[in-house]
Symmetry: C2
């Protein structure tokens, strides 16, 4: 390749990996860059301590150990499912908050699992060998079979939970080995009004005043687990401009996707999701007004949907920003030019972008059917989800491990069962609302003349069918689900449960859509992504971080505000302005326990803070850490600009938002009187 | 200019005005093109007869006279407002349908107006002279003042209703002179279940089976008006492939907009509207489930919102189609190149596209505030709308006619008063729902820290404030509104009505936004659009039709189906498949009167049909006419591809959907027994 092209590509690549950008794996942490920028030394022992101190909430969040006796700090919003499952019409823990009077009173969270990364193993060569020379769809199957096999033997050898991870969109494969905790209990949660103070209006905004924290405890054999590595809390928090780190499990970024894939996201997925979620939001809000119990049932779910709407809305905005997209196009073109100018690279990787475009085009032909039928957007609710797991899982379980769908491989089954058997309440009216809504959307998006729509609905309206299915199903009972699961394929085939019947009815088409997606689309995308990743490596080296994959990453940055429309945003907020902001009406209402807080907490008590660290959804609950490995913040959000971080990092305005340790400690002491928990923490100044 | 560039431009222009494309003014109807394509001669007398036979429903629809005694045929969905206003909890005309037992029983539609175009007058030179040499914002004001003055003197001289119209986005100005009917009464409407059979799922789809018709009658001095020109109905309808015309009032197209404006629509307005309307749809659907009366109140409104959602969704899809946008870009670039290559054209018009882009960029800075505060998206509902009219109109009325906002010029005031004083029911719970929703959106889109949001909401939640405003306001009473209007500025200033207080409170900011929009954005857009239009004329001549402006247009085409995913869609549907399609559940339920229809109507009775005519929203209710000037269809919809017609016409799949005359006549006779109305029609075979 010519030097000119290489330079152009590197310039563009570097333009997108400047400043504090990057969600780095521990193996590839840019210690030298941190040293150069901030003068601090980060070594392997430091990184290893962090790895052992950070937890993953398998439901989609992060956390950190806060004591050697299994105490885990995470966000309040990360455990809303647990809070709902422990609540009832008589006892609303979301509104009341929760503090276990003693360890014996800590309450088990149904279906919750926490994992801690112990070690990783590079299996790229192994995977590549299994797929070498095979056409894409065959390679895709071979790859999955190999990964299932490697995971299983890993678990057998190590006694740990093993998950395969692909980094750089297929460029590298690893086994991640986790210590698992399936007995997770709730120790402390503040009330929703202060945990999510500001609600949707303040979500993704800053300045901010939320005590979005909770404390869980992991148990082993019915006793608090021993967790040798945990983080001390630095009560004073970080100084302005101080170097900090965030360690956690960012979920998904799309920074390595092609422009074609981003445009497809802009024109297809995002509008489709926004239309559906907005209507569902409206339905839930209106239903919540019909009574206290409906309000309780959907209160947090509405916040979750509103969060998703804000994310998708800002993603759509970002992808509609022609300047940013032009930059993305240039950067892609530079890489393509660099590949094209070298015959060896061109031969090996040159077709990748075109292949992606072809597969994406193919996807547009099936995506509505795929989403509504296979991804079950047409069949929302817990009951259908149980039915799908039962219908599909019992069939898969009978196959050899390596021939199964990945969701039902041996190493995944314990988690499948944990969730299927979890004793969580199911609310029929809410189930009906969701199912009636989604059946209406199924008809709307596939059309009333679609053969599946006609067969599923018959002469019923979506609402009537939903009512019949929900009232006729017995799957709300965990015992019934257990019996069906244990009864296997025969029990499922003989079941007259109408929800099982529905899942059975659409199963062959759903599987076919899944197969088409995997063979004709995903396989091509993966193959092309591997090629692009390899081209990047060969041209730019590995000073590139992989897209987020809900695996452990460390990002660094500093406690620094930003300029918003010319005005400087200070990186810290203090409690005085929380009290000014209180109106008495949701979502600017304080819980009862906070009524006298303004006389108890100092007006200059630091509340929330921002840093330039590079995070994304999944990092919720992550510890913000100083160079000495002390907790200086609890990450719970990003600012509005952070949402575009799914596609690119803008160091000028992308900010992480965290709870300050001081307000956590002060409120635990002065508002909640949580002296036992405080005694358990290691607090330094 | 070079020949090459001119050829390129013309080729691209022609590519976008081929086949049966075009919403033509009568002055510029392409009779020669029709002659060449179809061999039929359309002359001026023919066009003049059509002009006199076609009606405009000023609320946003079209219609045609069906007798010399003022009978007007239009769609059922065009008179839903009237049906709602005439209904109550006890008497639901939407569900029951309506047939006046005699003329004396025909029921007045509150606030409805019908207009018939009598003549048009070209005032371009007059308007251009008034604005010559002035900077954009000054020219904009001068233009508006001139138009108000011309309209007023026109009304004085002609005794007709005069409205100025700008065509080709500012390239030409006309006075349109209308005969007005302010006393419009309902003679016949079928039940909603058959009028909108298939509901939202079938809306914009074909094959289709809807009896979307109604018959109104215009009155003068309390008696049926004499309407010399009307259309005979050709019962057999048109033949396949027959040449047909649609005459009516298409509302808005954006085919002459710049690519920059279309991209802005894609990234800003459409997502914003879709998010809001989808949530509102969800709220209304959930509220409708809480009782029969809520269901009655919002039934048609839900269909209206669903219609808007479908339109915006398909518009977004069209503007996200990179192939179509690329064609648009090429065509624009060809015109720009043609302009640039000729120094005279370049000097006069060359800056236009850049100017549009600058104004659009400026718009993005204020558009959310403009929409929520001035365009009142933050204050939905009839009560606020009354308050805004009262607060603003009383101030404007005191100014000289030519200095007023155009909405309150002398020629517009009678319509303002007609609507303000109309005795239409106002439903407090529904008002609260709308206002609570829109106040929440105001806070969501402008943010809780916005100074106006804070002042409006204070410490209230959006729902609480909405309840206080609606329950405290007396504006639901037409007498109260009349008194305030007549009391003028003093009465408004002294009013303690909370809705008036809200409208007063935001008035200065709303006016400022309106002014900024007019001076800094609209004026630039208009000026640039004029330049682009003139460049088009100078290069391509006037064989270009203007964008739709809710003024009379004639389009031609043929009764022809299309290919959908390889399958041929027949242009006609018949009653047999209606009965197959009936499920008994909304929206595929038939009304009681149709229960035995399958034994009464022939199975091969033509029901709906499609044609290649070029229409858009506003054409609803338009007659479809044969070469002999006979009605052969009642336009009520387009197929799904017709929605992209807002931006470009695709002759391969854009289709008009109409009710066949046979099903109208047969059901009037055999299902509704409307013998008096049938006797009044002129039916030919």
């Amino acid at each position: 390749m010519t030097i000119r092209l290489l330079t152009a590509f590197l310039a563009l690549t570097c333009a997108s990996t400047v400043a504090d950008e990057g969600m780095w794996t521990l193996e590839n942490f840019p210690a030298q860059r941190v040293k150069n920028t901030y003068g601090s030394t980060i070594d392997t022992p430091w990184l290893n301590r962090i790895r052992s101190s950070v937890a993953r909430l398998d439901g989609g969040c992060s956390g950190s150990f806060a004591s050697k006796e299994g105490l885990v700090l995470t966000n309040n919003h990360c455990i809303w499912g647990c809070i709902r499952n422990l609540s009832s019409a008589e006892k609303n823990l979301s509104e009341e908050g929760f503090l276990a009077a003693s360890r014996a009173e800590e309450r088990s969270c149904p279906g919750m699992r926490i994992s801690v990364l112990i070690e990783t193993e590079d299996i790229t060569a192994n995977v590549v060998a299994a797929t070498q020379g095979k056409p894409e769809s065959e390679a895709n199957e071979a790859r999955k079979a190999k990964l299932s096999a490697l995971e299983k033997s890993c678990e057998k050898q190590s006694g740990l939970g093993c998950e395969s991870v692909n980094l750089y969109r297929g460029g590298q494969y690893f086994l991640y080995k986790y210590r698992r905790f399936d007995d997770v209990r709730l120790a402390f949660a503040p009330e929703l009004p202060i945990a999510a103070f500001g609600g949707d209006p303040d979500n993704f905004n800053f300045p901010r005043w939320s005590l979005d924290m909770s404390l869980l405890r992991v148990y082993e054999d019915g006793k608090p687990a021993t967790t040798t590595h945990f983080l001390p809390w630095r009560k004073a928090g970080p100084n302005a401009d101080e170097l900090v780190f965030v360690a956690g499990h960012p979920g998904t970024t799309r920074r390595l996707m092609t422009v074609d894939q981003l445009e497809h996201r802009r024109s297809s997925l995002l509008p489709q999701q926004l239309l559906q979620l907005s209507e569902l939001r409206g339905r839930l809000l209106a239903w919540a007004k019909t009574g206290e119990e409906p309000a309780r049932i959907v209160q947090q779910r509405i916040l979750n949907y509103e969060n998703a709407i804000k994310v998708y809305r800002q993603q759509l905005r970002a992808l509609s920003d022609e300047r940013q997209m032009a930059a993305k196009r240039s950067s892609e073109q530079a890489l393509r030019d660099a590949v094209a100018s070298d015959p060896k690279l061109a031969g090996a990787y040159g077709s990748a972008w075109k292949d992606v475009a072809v597969a994406t085009q193919r996807y547009t032909e099936i995506e509505d059917r795929y989403r509504f039928i296979e991804a079950a957007q047409g069949f929302r609710g817990s009951l259908f989800s149980f039915a799908r797991t039962l219908v599909r899982g019992t069939v898969e379980r009978e196959k050899p491990n390596e021939q199964r769908l990945r969701a039902y491989r041996d190493t995944a089954l314990p988690r499948v069962e944990q969730q299927l058997f979890a004793d969580a309440p199911v609310y029929p009216e809410y189930e009906q609302l969701q199912l009636g809504f989604s059946l209406a959307k199924l008809r709307e998006w596939l059309g009333p003349d679609d053969v599946t729509v006609k067969r599923v609905l018959g002469t019923s309206s979506p609402d009537d069918l939903a009512m019949a299915l929900v009232s006729g199903s017995r799957l709300a009972d965990p015992e019934v689900r257990k019996q069906l699961w244990q009864g296997g394929v025969d029990a499922i085939n003989q079941s007259d449960d109408p929800m099982i019947a529905l899942a059975r009815d659409i199963e062959s088409e759903a599987r076919e859509l899944d197969q088409t997606f995997r063979d004709d689309i995903e396989a091509i995308w993966n193959d092309a992504a591997e090629k692009i990743a390899k081209a990047r490596f060969e041209i730019g080296g590995t000073d590139v971080y992989p897209d987020a994959t809900f695996t452990l990453r460390v990002t660094y940055g500093s406690v620094t505000g930003w300029k918003e429309k010319g005005a400087t945003v200070d990186p810290f907020t203090y409690s005085d302005r929380l009290f000014e902001r209180t109106t008495g009406s949701d979502p600017f209402r304080l819980p009862q326990s906070w009524e006298n807080a303004s006389t108890v907490l100092a007006p200059d008590l630091p509340f929330n803070l921002v840093a330039t660290t590079d995070i994304i959804g999944g990092n919720s609950g992550s510890p913000m850490i100083d160079t000495q490995g002390r907790l200086v913040g609890l990450v719970f959000d990003g600012n509005i600009h952070s949402i575009a971080g799914a596609f690119w990092f803008n160091p000028h305005n992308n900010r992480t938002v965290a709870v300050h340790p001081a307000v956590m400690l002060e409120s635990l002491e002065k508002i909640y009187g949580a002296s036992d928990l405080l005694d358990e923490l290691t607090v330094v100044n």
